[in-house]
């Protein structure tokens, strides 16, 4: 019986397993809901506990426990058996290539949110109340539906030196200026520019996200404020600078920090398109390589801890801004 349930081999068996799994899930959820709904005279904290328990248990097991183990491992050797103190961190910081990796990571965290937000904001303002607004928004939002790995593979073809769209365009344009046998640059090989070409992939995806959020908050600006500004003779760029941007500032900050956190985890794009080659690695990618390719859990964990340390200020800022936004409302 356990054989049938754990290793179904036929389509019917798999379907049956799926139905059983769904039924189990629904049953548990129903039980939680009914329990929480039943007796009315009960302290509030019991209700709260019943609802919080599944989430807390999952966070503790799936997030806090692994985080603690990772921090512990960063002070242990490659098989996590012997305590080595700060050796792993020293090793990382002495590696000249790691400085390049750190530089790349910083570039990702600064440039990707900035460019995505600027592009998304300008686009949102430009198409706001235009005739083709919905269609124009759909166009830029579409890449959001593509996974990072999928997008990376698409862009890898764009950058391909022989058949890539970008390379062909380069050769064609060079031809117009009289260069007969121009060769396209190696977009993904020549450092440090290759990091920028990798970032383009994430900007392509995240600009749609920025546009959606910012467009919504632009629409939420009360009409009377706009009208008052108009009566005072504010138009065009001034309206954008002195009315629109200050009014949507909280959303801007949330978009910036959210994209910054995504950029910090830019592992999939780098790994799919580049691996650790050509000086384009980022911290998350190094962490994977050391943990699973080089099988050195100590150095891998130390890299993860470093990444965590870098992320903390961004998250703290993000949470603070979210709170501020809620307080305003």
């Amino acid at each position: 019986m356990d054989e049938l349930l754990l290793h179904p081999t036929t389509a019917g068996g798999k379907l049956l397993l799926m139905i059983i799994a769904i039924a189990l899930f629904a049953l548990v959820m129903a039980l939680v809901l009914i329990l929480a709904d039943r007796p009315r005279r009960r302290p509030r904290w019991v209700t709260a506990a019943v609802f919080l328990f599944p989430a807390l248990a999952l966070v503790a097991f799936g997030l806090i426990y692994p985080a603690l183990v990772t921090i512990r491992n960063s002070f242990f050797d490659q098989t996590s058996d012997d305590f080595v103190g700060l050796k792993n961190f020293g090793f990382i910081l002495r590696d000249p290539e790691f400085l390049t990796t750190l530089r790349n990571t910083v570039a990702w965290v600064v440039l990707v949110p900035l460019l995505s937000t600027v592009i998304g904001l300008v686009y949102a303002v430009l198409v706001d109340r235009a005739k083709v607004e919905k269609f124009a928004k759909t166009l830029i939002f579409l890449p959001m539906a593509i996974s990072m790995v999928g997008a990376s593979i698409i862009w890898k073809f764009v950058y391909d030196n022989r058949v890539g769209a970008l390379s062909r365009a380069y050769v064609t344009v060079a031809g117009w200026f009289g260069s007969e046998d121009a060769q396209a640059p190696y977009w993904l090989i020549d450092a440090p520019w290759n990091t920028f070409f990798l970032m383009v992939v994430m900007i392509w995806i995240q600009a749609g996200f920025a546009m959606t959020v910012l467009s919504a908050s632009i629409k939420a600006i009360p009409d009377d404020i706009i009208e008052a500004a108009r009566l005072d003779g504010v138009t065009g760029i001034k309206m954008f600078r002195h009315v629109t941007v200050p009014m949507i500032r909280p959303s801007l900050v949330v978009v910036l920090t959210t994209v910054a956190m995504t950029a910090l985890k830019a592992f999939d794009i780098v790994r799919t398109m580049q691996g650790r080659l050509y000086h384009a690695s980022v911290v998350a990618n190094d962490f994977y390589t050391w943990s699973f390719n080089n099988n050195d859990k100590g150095v891998g964990a130390a890299l993860a801890v470093l990444l965590f340390v870098i992320v903390v200020p961004v998250i703290a800022y993000n949470v603070r801004q979210l709170k501020l936004t809620e307080d305003i409302r």
Binding site: A21, F25, A30, N161, I189, G275, L277, Y278, N293
Partner: protein, 455 residues
């Protein structure tokens, strides 16, 4: 009450999405039929020694997927049909990344085919790998050479029997093009350099094609080149010292070997990836790198025996007098014949009788011959119980002949034996820089030496 019913429906809906996601994440998990198959007509006498294993099952984990994986599953069928054993086969390209984690979690398959001896050593270090049973050890002694037994051993104990093998010291060329332009297969390294110069002087096309890109494994093709050059320029003895780090990676002998290699691979008029300069070698997938020979865009390409499948996929006539064939990468001294190769090794994590039986079968000539019969090309083994004519592809027969050649000095792919930090990271990375940044040989060797673990 109506409200809670609504919530239950929502919960069920969420469950559906979850279950769908789980179902979509399934791995390449298939079974090679157990009993009652079409193979019942096969002769079962060779399998009688394994007894009746009906109702038992064994799990196998390898790196082989798609058609390669299918041929493995196919090769298990006669055994399964005769003994009644159910073989549960799983293939995954990410085995090297996840197998140690699986071992630690106690969720590893009964039998794992390790693609590198270096990884096997790390697995043995966990203490979970069982030494091979006596019957397997006996097979290994009988059908493999001592050096192959050595690659499957850690600290003198045999933990894994060899499975497949490949020969890497091959240069692909087109016999028809050679006849057309009057070129001859070189017998020494110097002949090869002369031939290269001649082809370049004739100006039909670049003499060599190369390409080393392979996703995040980019660079391994170049490390094979280096290993072949060290074997030829510094000799097999220095090669062993180099692999075991008894001499440093930036030893003058190794740097000289790199420089010897640069005579071909760093000469813009001798080599590219079909188009562009040397940097294009770093950007071109290894799978596409050799096929330009068929279009006359180049004449020579150094790549392992398994590359034959790529030519077969182009419908090329692979054969000694056909469109494409391979010659042995010659050494400087024709009296020595070093051969670079690689292979995979089967270790077990359980000692149930059915696991022992299946493990013994995998080390037997019966399996090797069965595998040869169901593989279209790109596979061979160093098992000397294999009947050469069972291999379907002429290249595989050529490779098997080289492996069985008693005058040849076989050496295992060095990057597979080095620590992973070097063998599948620094070595790959620096050899990619060798092309992409035209990094000087000495700097390449120094950087790899610096990455070698210190203890």
């Amino acid at each position: 009450m109506k409200r809670s019913l609504g919530r239950v429906v929502v919960a069920a809906g969420m469950g559906l999405v979850l279950a769908g996601a789980v179902a979509a994440c399934g791995t390449d998990d298939k079974e090679a039929g157990g009993g009652g198959d079409s193979a019942t007509t096969a002769d079962c006498s060779a399998y009688e020694q394994y007894g009746d294993l009906s109702g038992k099952s064994v799990t196998v984990y390898t790196t082989f997927v798609d058609t390669e994986g299918a041929s493995y599953e196919e090769s298990f069928k006669p055994f399964a049909a005769c003994t009644g054993l159910t073989v549960k086969y799983e293939g995954s390209k990410s085995l090297t990344a996840d197998v140690l984690g699986r071992i630690e979690a106690g969720a590893v398959a009964d039998i794992v085919a390790f693609p590198q001896p270096g990884l096997l050593q790390q697995a043995v270090a966990t203490g979970k790998v069982l030494p091979v049973p006596a019957a397997v050890a006996q097979n290994v002694d009988q059908y493999w050479t001592a050096s192959w037994r050595n690659y499957g051993s850690v600290g003198g104990t045999l933990y894994a029997a060899p499975l497949g093998a490949s020969v890497k010291s091959l240069v692909w060329y087109s016999p028809s093009a050679f006849t057309q332009y009057g070129y001859e297969v070189p017998q020494t390294w110097d002949d090869l350099l002369t031939l290269t110069a001649d082809i370049a002087a004739d100006g039909q096309a670049k003499p060599w094609c190369a390409g080393i890109a392979d996703g995040d494994a980019t660079g391994w093709v170049a490390t094979d080149w280096v290993e072949d050059m060290v074997l030829r320029s510094a000799g097999p003895q220095a090669y062993d010292q180099w692999v075991n780090h008894e001499i440093r990676f930036n030893d003058p002998k190794i740097v000289d070997s790199l420089k010897e290699m640069s005579k071909i691979l760093r000469n813009d008029s001798y080599v590219n990836a079909g188009i562009g300069d040397i940097v294009s070698i770093a950007a071109t997938p290894w799978t596409d790198a050799g096929t330009p020979i068929l279009d006359g865009q180049c004449f020579l390409h150094r790549q392992a025996s398994f590359y034959g499948g790529n030519f077969a996929a182009e419908n090329a006539d692979v054969g000694e007098n056909g469109d494409i064939w391979a010659f042995y990468l010659p050494s400087s001294d024709p009296s020595s014949k070093p051969i670079l190769g690689a292979g995979d090794f089967v270790a077990a994590f359980a000692d149930r009788p059915e696991v022992v039986a299946f493990q013994t079968f995998l080390s037997s000539p019966e399996w090797a011959n069965e595998k040869a019969k169901v593989t279209d090309g790109g596979w061979t083994t160093a098992n000397n119980g294999l009947v050469k004519s069972n291999l379907k592809s002429a290249v595989d027969q050529l490779a098997y002949g080289l492996l069985a050649d008693p005058s040849a000095e076989f050496r295992f792919d060095g990057s597979d034996l080095m620590p992973a930090v070097v063998g599948s990271d620094a070595f790959w990375k620096q050899m990619t820089a060798y092309f992409a940044e035209v990094k000087p040989e000495q700097d390449v060797a120094d950087a790899i030496e610096a990455a070698w673990p210190k203890d």
